[in-house]
């Protein structure tokens, strides 16, 4: 470990001592358990630890709040997705209960897919998913969603364009 790294971790250590309790109680207001708040607070400092370029920070609590907020969105989105996924399975008569392992894997995948398709309109997502998962052709997708084949091509182009853009980021 280089000298610079040591001083950065000392610095973050100092922040941890003076702000960890504050951050936990701030987060606890928005989360249903103390344990979740502590997890997110700890992750916040881990993120800070892995970005050596940020020191010194003029307003540490503002930065900590920003990082924690992002982590909390991720946690909440994950919960929303899990709940919506279980509801969707419940409504779909052909689905059966997933095993805990399958479910955990699927929620991971869902989060990645959610980010991949984030911001695309619902019809575009629906079109892309029918192609990607069910392997339907464009005429089949058009019939399924009650839209024109022209729209199917346009929607596919939008979805693929976004995925390609993410690849080059």
């Amino acid at each position: 470990m280089s000298g610079a790294d040591t001083s950065h971790s000392d610095y973050v250590g100092g922040l941890f001592r003076s702000h960890y309790d504050w951050l936990c109680s701030r987060l606890h207001r928005h989360l249903d358990s103390r344990a979740h708040a502590e997890d997110i607070a700890a992750d916040t400092f881990v993120q800070l630890l892995s970005s050596p370029g940020v020191a010194p920070i003029r307003q540490p609590r503002a930065l900590l709040t920003t990082i924690a907020q992002r982590l909390m969105y991720q946690l909440w989105r994950r919960r929303d997705l899990e709940r919506a996924y279980l509801d969707a399975l419940d409504q779909d008569e052909t689905s059966s209960a997933p095993s805990p392992e399958d479910l955990a894997q699927m929620i991971e995948a869902l989060q990645a897919i959610d980010q991949l398709l984030d911001g695309l309109p619902a019809k575009v997502k629906a079109t892309f998913l029918l192609s990607q998962l069910n392997g339907l052709t464009y005429p089949e997708i058009a019939a399924e969603l009650g839209i024109s084949q022209r729209s199917v091509s346009d929607y596919m182009a939008r979805a693929i364009n976004r995925c390609l853009r993410l690849c080059l980021e």
Binding site: H30, L129, A157, N161
Partner: protein
């Protein structure tokens, strides 16, 4: 440069997935791809990115189910942003004497199996039942609680200059008295005037007055009959569920906010009559108790998926 690359790659992939691409199309695509290492790299990256769908495919998840899951609402995020940003501003500029922003725009939510009491800025007291979300929108003219989902009991503090309203998706409630209970889940609403009168405006323009001790159910089409309230409606406040000769479906619905995951009820047993007083903090135990007294069978496939069926 990149735009051009992305556009031409998009055109190829859109063609190849159409179901109408010929062998010659595939050949020309392979050629196009091999001509430039940047094209090859991009196409490989895309394949890697889309690898995440293999998990869904392996588990036989359909596009429709996935689509539905991705449509999960994210409404809480925007509200949280406001609340936490307020916190950051106050923390960063502590010397500024500012009112706490959270008092102006609050977001209250409870998780599965959690009940929470909060004191509102006007001194009113609100108790949120499990799996409920509410926003507080108080200003100089009026006090509005927006119940997004779930159930609340509110003890309203007197304030002659500001009326107290509760807004839900299906109704707007004007409370004159001091205690009321309101529940709205999946479009089905229920109000109990515990003390004092209240007025409800339905979505269809209908208006109804409830006196203390009365309750009514509603949905977007209108109100049900006004009835004298039973003590069972408020039993959850103390952590109990009290029912007297009610259908099993109603009991299961009351348990849902306390159960993590899917709770499926076979319609064949939904109409069975149930009476009893149950502790809400352990829904699994309630189900087991019900299974001992009724001709039903509880199947737990994972902790998250429970089916109540006929024996």
């Amino acid at each position: 440069m990149n735009d051009e690359l992305i556009d031409s790659a998009t055109r190829w992939i859109v063609l190849l997935r159409s179901g109408q691409a010929t062998a010659a199309d595939w050949q020309r695509y392979e050629q196009w791809r091999a001509e430039d290492p940047r094209r090859e790299a991009l196409c490989q990256q895309l394949e890697t990115r889309l690898g995440v769908f293999q998990i869904a495919q392996a588990q036989g998840v359909s596009g429709k189910v996935l689509q539905q899951a991705l449509e999960a609402p994210t409404s809480r995020r925007a509200v949280l942003r406001g609340a936490l940003m307020g916190a950051a501003v106050i923390a960063g500029a502590g010397w500024l004497a500012r009112p706490a922003l959270e008092d102006l725009t609050a977001d209250l939510r409870t998780g599965t199996g959690e009940r929470r009491t909060v004191e509102l800025a006007d001194g009113s007291e609100m108790l949120l039942n499990a799996r409920s979300t509410a926003d507080i929108q108080f200003d100089a003219q009026r006090r509005v609680v927006r119940l997004r989902e779930g159930e609340l009991l509110v003890k309203i503090a007197k304030d002659s200059s500001r009326a107290f309203f509760i807004q839900t998706d299906q109704a707007r409630l004007h409370a004159y008295g001091n205690r009321l209970l309101l529940r709205e889940r999946e479009g089905q609403g229920h109000v109990v005037a515990l003390s004092g009168a209240l007025e409800i405006n339905g979505q269809n323009g209908e208006r109804l007055q409830l006196d203390a001790g009365q309750e009514v159910s509603y949905d977007r089409f209108g109100f049900g009959p006004v009835q004298a309230s039973s003590s069972g409606a408020t039993a959850w406040i103390d952590g109990f569920l009290q029912v007297r000769d009610r259908p099993l479906a109603e009991v299961i619905d009351a348990l849902r906010p306390y159960h993590n995951g899917v709770l499926r009820l076979d319609p064949a047993v939904a109409g069975l009559r149930v009476s009893g007083l149950y502790r809400l903090d352990n829904p699994d135990q309630i189900l087991d108790t019900l299974a001992r007294t009724l001709p039903i069978h509880i199947t737990r496939r994972t902790g998250l998926w429970v089916t109540v069926g006929a024996t």
